[in-house]
Amino acid sequence: MMTEKPTCIGVLAIQGDSDAHAAAFAGLGIATKPVKTASELAQVTSLVLPGGESTAMLRLLRRDGLDIALRDFVHTRPVLATCAGCILLAREVCNPHQESFAALDISIERNAYGRQNDSAILPVETTLPGGPMEAVFIRAPRILKTGAKVETLATRDGYPVLVREGKILAATFHPELSDDRRVHEAFLEMLRES
């Protein structure tokens, strides 16, 4: 096997709760690097797309080639995405339609449960070891359809809320805002596998 530079997790830090992800990994003894530009993206080997506002992120990506570099990155490298990050990766986005990287074979509906008053913290069923998991849903999207290669790891009312396809692990909720670290640990396990 070819030797590569040591693994380094980046956290996209153009907008959103990137600090919460950095703190989650720090709690597991893993350092991360904030990524705001294409040159910073080139320094990392895997990436977290945090929660935030997907429309704002799309606008901020359209600067200095970051969108092009990121499109290539998410199709080839390990990525952990939560909420807005999951929307950015989807094959198809509705309510309303918006552009996306189509790296994850899902169809996703934005703000699917309503507005902030409909945000909720719920236990969800998961196939990750350890039983039901607390999931923080904030103006959350809903995954309407998944492709054949997408594995569903947790559900809410029958809809997938945590999915994996190849090197991508994506949640419609915010594991970074809970104390349960199973999602971040699952991502570290994926990094070890690849």
């Binding site: 935030g52 507005r115 923080v136």
Partner: protein, 315 residues
């Protein structure tokens, strides 16, 4: 206040602070109509604040400033997919009840509107909708957090385009936070009294060195460099009120009918968004500043009599 301690934070408060977390690193823009809201969203705003008049107009026109009309708020909520905030008068919990009923995503209990109660702020724990409140110093911030605020912003001096008071308030809050972290355990009781803030919150902040809710900045931010300044001083997000859509002191740009004025508003909005994200990179802030055509004229805050200041409302 033990429910605010890490794991023990109540579910409702965690959800409120959770939304504030999602807004970090972004710009929240004041808008007065659907077209402005669309411009804000397209430019990359993380949320909009629906208002009848921006602070610069309230300042120029006078009169009693109240909650915006539900009709306007609903139109703006229908026009954009990003969170919509709206302002209630200080202490006016019935306006806040209306805003919660409408489904706004955040309520700003704001000194920009004419206060409705001279002694009491709204009991924000009684609501499911999160609240943001203004503060000039740590004590004021902690009093609002004790009442249930999920986000604090500097008051600054709204509607001026003069950033001097936002700077003063942010420096004051971060300085007082730093001082708490080096205080001895027995000094905290006295400091709680000095700040007029609950001891439990003072002790928590002394341990962590930061507010238990996100700390944003507002009040006079008008340019990309202003946004970068506030972010470098420790703001986690900025509110831009009159700085994007105002032409003269009390006249907004006509974004609905004048293509050139619309383009001016778009250029200001985009530039402030970029500068807020890349606040530490002067090259990018310079590029963004160069894209801006025109700037709000503004009003030097030092020229405002103390009785005409908005920031002295609330306590």
């Amino acid at each position: 206040m033990s429910e605010m301690n890490g794991n023990h934070t109540s579910t409702g408060l965690r959800l409120k602070i959770g939304l504030a977390e999602m807004l970090k690193g972004g710009v929240i823009m004041d808008v007065m109509n659907v077209e402005q809201a669309r411009i804000a969203e397209e430019a990359g705003a993380v949320a909009v604040m629906a208002l009848e008049r921006v602070p610069a107009m309230i300042r120029a026109e006078g009169g009693v400033a109240r909650m915006a009309s539900p009709k306007l708020i609903k139109e703006i909520m229908a026009a954009v997919t990003i969170p919509v905030m709206a302002k209630a008068r200080i202490g006016h919990f019935a306006e806040a009840q209306v805003l919660q009923h409408l489904g706004v995503d955040f309520i700003d209990e704001s000194e920009v509107l004419t206060p409705a109660d001279e002694a009491h702020h709204i009991d924000k724990h009684a609501f499911t909708t999160p609240f943001v409140c203004g503060a000039r110093n740590l004590g004021e911030a902690l009093r609002r957090i004790a009442e249930g605020a999920a986000m604090i912003r500097t008051k600054g001096e709204a509607g001026t385009g003069d950033v001097v008071h936002a700077v003063q308030h942010m420096r004051q809050i971060t300085k007082e936070l730093r001082q708490l972290t080096v205080a001895r355990e027995e000094e905290l009781y006295h400091l709680a009294k000095e700040h007029g803030a609950p001891y439990e919150l003072v002790r928590m902040v002394a341990k962590t060195g930061k507010l238990p809710v996100p700390n944003f900045s507002a009040g006079g931010i008008a340019t990309p460099a202003d946004a970068a300044l506030m972010m470098q001083l420790g703001a986690e997000t900025v509110f831009v009120g009159s700085g994007i859509f105002m032409k003269e002191r009390a006249t907004p740009l006509d974004v609905e009918n004048d293509a050139k004025e619309r383009e001016e508003a778009v250029s200001r909005a985009r530039a402030i968004v970029i500068a807020t994200t890349h606040f530490n990179d002067a090259k990018i802030v310079a590029e963004a500043s160069e894209q801006v055509t025109g700037t709000m004229k503004g009003l030097a805050a030092a020229a405002i009599e103390e009785r005409d200041q908005l920031q002295t409302r609330g306590w």
